[in-house]
């Protein structure tokens, strides 16, 4: 059905904007390693683990940092975290220093970090050519 299109607006005038360090959020792709095996944490438990890591290193102030678990895959224990740009260092240091989960050894591996969520979808270092 031909829709009466409104007359197309004039071609867009050229405009260029450069945003320097303007991203409010930073994204981390992390993987949790549980060498001792055992039960895998659910999404909520995973987030609780991140919050306890933050509380341990940065206290209540750190624990209040707004962290979002955008995606969580229980099979590979990998997730994408979103944090405000000012809290990136706090979160990364807290994850690095976390050692125990329910008194089993655990370690966070930060695979990729970027101020753009789009950059996490295409990591050339994990590009496997068959």
């Amino acid at each position: 059905m031909a829709r009466a299109d409104p007359p197309p607006p004039p071609p867009a005038a050229f405009e260029r904007r450069v945003l320097r360090s303007a991203a409010e959020h930073h994204y981390l792709r992390v993987r949790l390693e549980l060498p001792d095996g055992g039960a895998r944490p659910s999404a909520a438990q995973f987030k609780q683990l991140v919050v306890t890591a933050l509380r341990e290193l940065h206290g209540e102030v750190g624990a209040a940092l707004p962290v979002d678990v955008l995606t969580y895959e229980e099979k590979t224990l990998s997730a994408i975290l979103r944090v405000t740009s000012s809290g990136l260092v706090k979160l990364w240091s807290a994850l690095t220093l976390l050692g125990f989960y329910q008194n089993r050894r655990c370690a966070f591996r930060v695979l990729q970090t970027s101020p753009f969520l789009l950059a996490l979808s295409g990591n050339s270092r994990e590009l496997v050519l068959d």
Binding site: L57, H58, G59, E60, V61, G62
Partner: protein, 166 residues
């Protein structure tokens, strides 16, 4: 070597329980403040603040405490002070809270502020005191603690007489 820059936090221990006063000593206060910082700012905050954290001056009668910490991290200390809820010493625990009066770069500025602050306290007491005898003792103590005399004797002891009249 560039000298270390410190900040001195002058605060007042306020507690409803009169018995709390006798358990104010530097170990208890230090412990309570460290715990509060650990709770509020975690290991990182505690480590930063305890670089040169000491209770420099403590006066159990007036309940004034002077804490020292590095200039870089005094904000962590000030933000953690409200988290102190009780003082514990010789396994007695009394609820109290810290009321921050002044943050200064040197002990002298804190001391000068303390004197101004106490004089203002005395004046407020003067307005709302009831009988004549109290009024006379307050006026006498106000006159005795003017700043000029202070240089002669040691600066810390001169204004401790206002506690009797609370």
């Amino acid at each position: 070597m560039v000298r270390f820059k410190n900040r001195y936090v002058l605060c007042e221990v306020v507690s409803e329980d009169p018995r709390c006063r006798q358990c104010i000593e530097d170990r208890a206060v230090g412990l309570a403040v460290r715990e509060a910082i650990a709770r509020a700012h975690g290991d990182y905050g505690l480590a930063c603040c305890s670089v040169s954290f000491t209770v420099k001056y403590l006066n159990a009668y007036t309940g004034t405490v002077l804490l020292r910490c590095r200039k870089d991290f005094y904000r962590l200390l000030c933000s953690a002070l409200p988290f102190v809820r009780q003082l514990e010493s010789r396994n007695q625990r009394y609820p109290c809270f810290f009321n921050t009066l002044h943050v200064g770069g040197t002990i002298r500025t804190c001391q000068k502020f303390l004197i101004q602050y106490n004089r203002r306290q005395l004046l407020t007491l003067l307005q709302n005191c009831t009988n004549e005898e109290e009024r006379r003792s307050i006026r006498q103590s106000v006159l005795s603690c003017s700043l000029t005399e202070e240089q002669s004797q040691s600066g810390d002891e001169e204004d401790d007489d206002d506690t009797e009249t609370d």
